[in-house]
Subunit: 480 residues, 2 copies
Amino acid sequence: MAPRPLDYECINENVKKVAYAVRGELYLRASELQKEGKKIIFTNVGNPQALGQRPLTFPRQVMALCQAPMLMDDPNVSILFPADVIARAKHYLAMTTGGLGAYSDSRGLPGIRKEVAEFIERRDGYPSDPDLIFLTDGASKGVMQILNTIIRDEKDGILVPVPQYPLYSAAISLFGGTLVPYYLDESANWGLDVGDLRKSVLEARYKGITVRAMVIINPGNPTGQCLSRDNIKELLEFCYAENLVLLADEVYQQNIYQDERPFVSAKKVLMDMGLPFSKELQLVSYHTVSKGYWGECGQRGGYFEMTNIPPKTVDEIYKVASISLSPNVPGQIFLGLMVNPPKPADISYQRFVAESKAILESLRRRAHLMTDGFNNCRNVICNFTEGAMYSFPQIKLPPKAIAAAKEAGKAPDVFYCLKLLEATGMSTVPGSGFGQKEGVFHLRTTILPPEEEMPEIMNVFKIFNDDFMAKYENYSWSRL
Amino acid sequence: MAPRPLDYECINENVKKVAYAVRGELYLRASELQKEGKKIIFTNVGNPQALGQRPLTFPRQVMALCQAPMLMDDPNVSILFPADVIARAKHYLAMTTGGLGAYSDSRGLPGIRKEVAEFIERRDGYPSDPDLIFLTDGASKGVMQILNTIIRDEKDGILVPVPQYPLYSAAISLFGGTLVPYYLDESANWGLDVGDLRKSVLEARYKGITVRAMVIINPGNPTGQCLSRDNIKELLEFCYAENLVLLADEVYQQNIYQDERPFVSAKKVLMDMGLPFSKELQLVSYHTVSKGYWGECGQRGGYFEMTNIPPKTVDEIYKVASISLSPNVPGQIFLGLMVNPPKPADISYQRFVAESKAILESLRRRAHLMTDGFNNCRNVICNFTEGAMYSFPQIKLPPKAIAAAKEAGKAPDVFYCLKLLEATGMSTVPGSGFGQKEGVFHLRTTILPPEEEMPEIMNVFKIFNDDFMAKYENYSWSRL
């Protein structure tokens, strides 16, 4: 039989080049172990509700009525649903033509895009245009669409932080572009140095690459740092000087666990900078319902806002969005609810605030528990998670562990994470999935396990890690 | 200011090449007119609930409880929800880890994929493997993913029917492949002639194109024909002989309006053919919750099933699906409900059957009303809509109308459809958006307007059309 079009050797090479570690070897092995009956703690992906975070009550009640509007014709509806929930469901249904079962405009419902624009205006203090906001099935889909618009061929480079969330490397491979790395400085709490950026661009240019865009993730994934206003300003100036579009992944903007560096959006800093930057620099900013204290990952709701993108390009992006007709409408309504939460006078307000505050405060405590736990382990050092949902400890592997990994045919961090998984059920992602400096090893874990389980998890981790280190350090001593 | 990366002249040329008429010039003009207060009948897209089709009660009730599981802790839940709805919501929630707010596996929830496989087995009488079924945010996303896997460069050709649903042409442009057209025969009720297929492949090969896949849409969009078992067998033999993957777009499989040619899946015909075909020919089949009597377009639920695709390629497709984490979970549950509807013993069964039967029977009557209506108009001929949701009448435009269109800088069918829109508010899609033979003109409209409005709509159409024809025929006479 001759090779067929969908046989491995015949398919698109760019598809093969894609690497996506968050659901890679470790995840697949964890899934196998789970099938065999082992208890797995899935901390490989920022998926809060999978680890027991309860959804906020108000938005779920509104969504239930939007899905089943016939309930509102029932005189008993108010036994199960508060009045403000009913009002809000009507508010969103009125924005649709035919309810949740009808395709919306491919950019999303105009009424929701207006609420998003109002949210951005309140947040930043600058106008926002609903026609430059596109709703998407989660933020990732929007990132992919914009990268697909920018990348023409392998000579087009995209500056991506290392370590990075692998959505970026994967999408760049898929679209046939070139990833141009810039390194975050672990010793400066994963800070971003503009001098290094410039070096990365020069090196790329030397190789014939035209760098056309830069990605920032703020707060950082996997690194958890929050960028200061000054730092953002510097990098906007850099993008302007180098003629780069900035893609600002701001999906963790509600997840802040310190008070020194509150979240500031790239859009706000850009507008603060004034002319010529505010009118010329091209920026695309992302947000989602999957993170924050919402954690509604499975609903797939996100948006991007475009700044200084000319109408002809916006039309092209609209056209391509049209091919898949519309983002899912329930996810759009979750986004509306997120940017327009209950107000103090609403019946559901107190409960909503109590629930969301409890989640955020617990996440803040967990960020501390985890950082401290890692720093209490042999050969592990870990920056504090200032924001986002991840801890990214550095694991200093003894030479003998590295040799054992080599013998097993694994990268050293993959070897360590597999051993951790087998021993403890903790499903993490090796640092190599995000990129790290040569010879330096990390793992990424979320800070999402339930708070009451956290001390025990860190204890189990410490026992595994310290045994692992003792084993490979002892082994080395015994040979000497 | 130098051109910036997202200025029109700098973006990916493949993005610019994409054409997507379903939401093209006509749709944009209709949206403008609507903003100005004109009543528009949006028949440009198969969006039943936007035109008043009511959602089925049972699945919406189940979804409401899945979204708000806290209601099930309320002793009053049974006042609003029947017991089988409650049981079904628990059934689906038990398939998730953490409910609707958690990402699922990137292929979709294993429990739902199992229900889909069981549905396919019942339908076709052959085994189906849940691990070869991937759930997607609507069928379009799955079509795009498979085309992206197949297409390597512009030398790779995809056989696409003309007229076609423009998802295919758009996705092929976006991924940089080449569309190889094969013409459906309007005079043979849009039949597919294998001799023509062979000619298309030879012509493409002569131009240096390697044809790698073939698309069929059965029942047809926009053409409404249903393929016979013999016809499907012929084209499977053709695909085998030419070493093509077959993409079988079967999203309208529940929408059948005649009894001579019931729906038969390509998978079933392939399995019936036996060896070597059944073990070698590569097939990807699509289905959705957006069509049928469900019409849940806005929920974005779909799946594809792969046949004879080797595991290494399936792994690659899984990996790329992982980049966007997971399809939306509510849409997955709608798919589960569609393939596993209420059973005769269930409380909700009678109502479910009554609702779905009413929708299908009304669609069948509307298919007749519309075909007859078009055939009653001057210079219009129209094949009967055997299946799907569209009517695709041919409009024989007088030479003077063609000249007037040219003067207005419009394609003749665009000119006609714009006039129709301005005069009547009917938002249709010109045939050129789907492809048509040179010098032959069509429009596509859905058969979805409410049945009671259909006679008046066809009457208004007739008045417009016959006036239009009289004007441009008279004009021609007066000049002679």
